[in-house]
């Protein structure tokens, strides 16, 4: 292991996984956490609670399609929703760098309020700390959230079975590219917006038509490729997807082509991957397409028995290749 934290430890890929496995899990090892799903499920009596926490650091704070506030609410709501939970309450902690304009903070708080209203969750506790200039980058937000999982519902990363269909809720790579465009000040003819959105209502609609949704996950950091690899590893199955079934908005694809980024590894904040029993896959797909955050839903592939822990993709010209987990960061290339 490295002596210092590298940026790649935060990329969501292999180094992030290694850091969690080697440093965090040994300290807090318990069966609830060890499942490594998006939120912890706490068994009380009767229903199950889902509980999760996430920190948000993004530069710039405001970007097309959202801001750090909307991100902090949606990210945690989505982590809860990915266990099938109905999100109820959030807490929010703010680490604020000295000098942040209050107007900016207010704008972010309003945006958080709007996002929580949309998701129908309440922010029930909070905390603020202000640190000296240079000790933080403008604003960091941590949100934790609690939701309730209906009795008998079992959605987890380890549940995928051979034959299941893999559904993706829409166009990929929008959030990551929107941030990059904003950060680099790239001037483009098309507007690229982050897809950041709360997905709990979409999940609720999906659950109305099927009880055979096995896994749900939002492909955030590390992108779709990393999420599919996580599911393949946790479920000990293989996953085959088709490149032609993936949809990417033209402007997003253009930026990826120019910068040499693989959109499969670029983060999303308003998309989900569902692994569904083949019998129910069509009805789930149709239901998703009726929801504003699922209009672009597609069956992108299926779960296969072998090779376990591996993701394959049929390429646009008919070849086949491995889709590995992101290692390190995606770096802009020389040429």
């Amino acid at each position: 292991m490295e002596d210092n934290i590298l940026l790649a430890h935060g990329s969501g890929g292999k180094l992030s996984h290694q850091l969690i496995k080697d440093l965090f899990l040994p300290q807090y090892d318990n069966p609830v956490l060890a499942k490594l799903d998006d939120a912890a499920k706490l068994r009380l009596t009767g229903d199950c609670l889902a509980y999760t926490t996430d920190s948000y650091v993004v530069n710039p704070l405001f970007f097309k399609g959202g801001d750090i506030g909307r991100l902090a609410v949606c990210g945690t709501v989505n982590d809860l929703a990915m266990t099938g939970a109905k999100p109820l309450y959030l807490t929010a902690s703010f680490i604020i760098e000295e000098g942040l304009p209050l107007a900016a903070l207010k704008k972010i708080l309003i945006s958080m309020k709007q996002a929580s209203e949309e998701a129908e969750v309440e922010v029930v506790a909070g905390d603020t700390k202000v640190v000296e200039k240079g000790a933080a980058d403008k604003l960091f937000i941590t949100t934790s959230g609690i939701g309730v999982i209906e009795k008998g519902l079992n959605i987890a990363g380890a549940n995928a079975k051979a034959g299941d269909r893999v559904i993706l809720s829409g166009d990929i790579a929008e959030h990551g590219v929107a941030i990059l465009v904003e950060r680099e000040g790239m001037e483009l003819d098309v507007e690229i917006k982050s897809d950041v959105a709360p997905l709990n209502h979409l999940v609720a609609q999906m659950l109305k038509v099927s009880r055979k949704i096995r896994c749900l996950r939002d492909p955030t950091r590390g992108g779709l490729a990393t999420t599919l690899n996580e599911l393949a590893t946790q479920s000990e199955v293989g996953i085959r997807i088709e490149e032609d079934k993936l949809s990417i908005k033209e402007g997003v694809r253009g930026v990826c082509e120019i910068l040499g980024l693989d959109p499969l590894y670029v983060g999303n904040e308003g998309k989900l991957v569902a692994v569904v029993d083949p019998e129910d896959s069509q009805s789930v797909l149709e239901k998703m397409r009726q929801h504003p955050y699922g209009t672009g839903a597609q069956i992108i592939g299926e779960v296969v028995e072998k090779p376990t822990g591996r993701v394959f993709m049929k390429t646009s010209i008919g070849g086949s290749r491995i889709v590995d987990m992101l290692a390190g960061e995606q770096l802009p290339r020389i040429c």
Binding site: I317, G318, I322, A327, G328, L331, C335
Partner: protein, 360 residues
């Protein structure tokens, strides 16, 4: 998307593959020189679509991979200086030098900045007059003219705090070194599209005339690559050896004369040390006398310790196309993208990374 989807069309690809299968009677070894070709051959699964008669070998056309450890060690040494801002393209960050990497130095506080264009380096130098901004100038003919332009502009602006650490290389002399290697019996070259956009078709002519090797300058999309393979096989089957341009939408016979003029205004040809290939005459660039002030090594001698490389790493042989990553004892076991031992694993354009990422 226009100009992209047309070149990834499945029916057209299948048609080209059929033509290759029908035309190809003898076994051939073709080398794709450029790393972007290597990556796309893997990304689109092209190898498995080709008949058994066609073997594709990956060449030395990844600028990160052929940069010797010494250059990286120098960049690291410079980044440790308090008054230096080291500016680099992203894919140099993780390349291991003898004992560290730029990414590690950055995590320990060095001021290292990743840019998309050398123009950003110039901007950093202008905005930080009290610091020395050093651009790690790695790359082939594709990017070196842009560095030349930055130097010409810096000269006009009278910037005295902008420098480069020179590591540029030229592709055709390396191809000459490869064909003269007895271990490597090649039948043709898939020549790099972007390098050729600058240098044109003439610099490859000696390969066809003296060495009887057909060359096709290829674009990067899957249909470009398949068509180039077909064009090469067609020549081989007819016992012809010519330099042809497949990538006509970008490459002109004469290249880009303006870019070449700028390039050679700031630089002149020199010998250069390549990882794996060693010292190749006339394969590098050095600053002309009137631009010597921008050469960081000229102005501030850099001391680096003993240059070390992992003795088990076979990146050298891989860059020559003599071995594949599967022949390497470190591949997958020790050397992985998250813990790269050699540069072919670090660079997204490297053969080892492509094998690791796209093949079982």
């Amino acid at each position: 998307m226009k100009y992209i989807d047309e070149f990834r069309n499945r029916e057209l690809a299948q048609g080209l593959i059929k033509k290759i299968v029908e035309r190809s009677t003898r076994p051939v070894k073709l080398m794709e020189v450029c790393g972007t070709h290597t990556v796309n051959i893997f990304r689109y699964g092209i190898k498995e679509l080709l008949p058994e008669t066609v073997t594709l070998l990956s060449g030395p056309g990844c600028p990160v991979c052929v940069t010797p450890n010494e250059t990286i060690d120098k960049a690291i040494a410079l980044s440790r200086e308090k008054d230096v801002i080291l500016v680099t393209f992203g894919d140099m960050m993780d390349v291991p030098g003898s004992s560290s990497s730029l990414a590690k130095e950055k995590s320990q506080g060095a001021d290292i900045r990743v840019v998309y264009s050398v123009q950003d380096a110039l901007k950093i130098a202008t905005e930080n007059p009290k610091k020395k901004t050093v651009f790690l100038a790695i790359g082939f003919e594709t990017t070196s003219p842009t560095v030349a332009v930055s130097l010409i502009e810096a000269e006009e602006l009278g910037l005295r705090n902008y420098f480069i650490l020179q590591g540029h290389k030229l592709i055709p002399p390396a191809m000459k070194a490869l064909v003269e290697d007895e271990n490597l019996a090649l039948d043709g070259f898939i020549c790099p599209g972007h390098v050729s956009t600058i240098i044109g078709q003439r610099p490859y002519q000696f390969l066809a005339t003296q060495y009887k090797l057909p060359c096709v300058i290829s674009g990067f999309e899957p249909l470009d690559i398949l068509q180039s393979i077909y064009m090469l096989i067609n020549q081989i089957e007819q016992d012809r050896a010519e330099v042809k341009i497949q990538y006509k939408r970008s490459v002109k016979e004469e290249g880009n004369p303006l870019a070449l003029q700028k390039l050679y205004r700031a630089f002149q040809v020199s010998d250069s040390n390549w990882r794996g290939l060693g010292l190749i005459p006339g394969s590098g660039l050095k600053l002309r006398n009137e631009f010597k002030n921008f050469d960081v090594e000229e102005k501030f001698p850099i001391e680096v310790g003993e240059v070390k490389e992992n003795p088990d790493c076979i990146c050298g042989s891989i860059l020559k196309g003599i071995k594949t990553p599967l022949d390497c004892p470190l591949f997958r076991k020790v050397c992985r993208p998250e813990n790269p031992i050699g540069p072919c694993m670090v660079s997204s354009e490297g053969s080892c990374a492509a094998y690791y990422k796209f093949r079982q």
